[in-house]
């Protein structure tokens, strides 16, 4: 036998559960959570690593083109000199200097140094500054060597 008070109790409980589920604090989800700088640099290390794999494949193509002779090398050179080629090379250059500097930052972390949030943020800013400055210098050097 079920009396009315019991059913009312159940309903109340269900509505309470629904309410609590809807208003519970949600864990920071990637799509709505603004990544702090340190986290942004962390995922950038992976992304630049993948970009550099593309750069490494391009390097293989470049070497194979040189080995294949002057005509094929001329094609590779024409592609690398085009706007798309230059944009790719720019992405490779920036990715290299970023991944290089951040990799060294990781090696310091491996020794246990620089883990505090404040110093991690400072070294992160240094990584970005290094990557930007070195990319610009590398392209100035590249154009000066022409």
């Amino acid at each position: 036998m079920v009396d009315g008070r019991q059913i009312g109790e159940k309903k109340r409980k269900r509505s309470y559960d629904l309410h609590m589920n809807r208003h519970r604090p949600t864990s920071p989800h990637l799509q709505i959570y603004r990544l702090p700088l340190v986290a942004l640099i962390s995922i950038s290390h992976r992304i630049t690593g993948v970009i550099l794999v593309a750069g490494a494949i391009a390097l293989v193509g470049w070497l194979a083109a040189i080995a294949s002779g002057a005509e094929i090398y001329a094609c590779a050179r024409a592609f690398l000199g085009s706007l798309v080629g230059r944009l790719l090379l720019f992405a490779f250059t920036f990715s290299f200097f970023f991944h290089f500097a951040n990799g060294i930052r990781h090696l310091f972390w491996d020794t246990g140094a620089g883990f505090a949030l404040d110093s991690a943020r400072k070294s992160g800013i240094a990584v970005i500054a290094f990557a930007v400055v070195m990319t610009v210098l590398a392209w100035i050097l590249g154009y000066a060597m022409r």
Partner: protein, 127 residues
């Protein structure tokens, strides 16, 4: 039935990578190798980007550059295959997909580095 395995041997081979420490060490050692090699490679490529075929061949034929390129290629693809493996382990949850990706990554890295080293040798030792 009694299990005669020690706790250590039961734990060995578990985890997403099956063996963690050696992967970690190889990753760091190749990273350290790439500090000088990567910097040299990047700056060299910037300097010789505008070379024509004869100049590029001459540059690669110099022993220092040929050896440097070979070392850089080996370290680069080794480091890249370890890094891509970690990405596959992190983002691919289906076991067959993960193992398949790791096999493709490993074999591609070997094929690409062999192609690059062969090209350098052909340029350096040809004629």
């Amino acid at each position: 039935m009694k299990d005669f395995k020690s706790p250590l041997s039961r734990a060995r081979g578990l985890g997403s990578a099956r063996s963690g420490t050696s992967h970690w060490w190889s990753q760091r050692i190749s990273a350290i190798a790439l500090i000088p090699l990567g910097l040299w490679l990047c700056l060299s490529l910037v300097m010789i980007a505008s070379y024509d075929h004869a100049q590029a061949v001459e540059w690669i034929r110099s022993p220092i550059n040929g050896i440097g390129l070979t070392l850089a290629i080996i370290a680069l693809f080794y480091h890249a295959s370890l890094g891509l493996q970690t990405i596959a382990e992190d983002y691919l949850s289906a076991e067959w997909l993960k193992i398949g990706a790791i096999i493709v990554i490993r074999l591609s890295a070997i094929a690409l580095s062999a192609t690059a080293v062969f090209s350098v040798l052909r340029i350096a030792l040809g004629e």
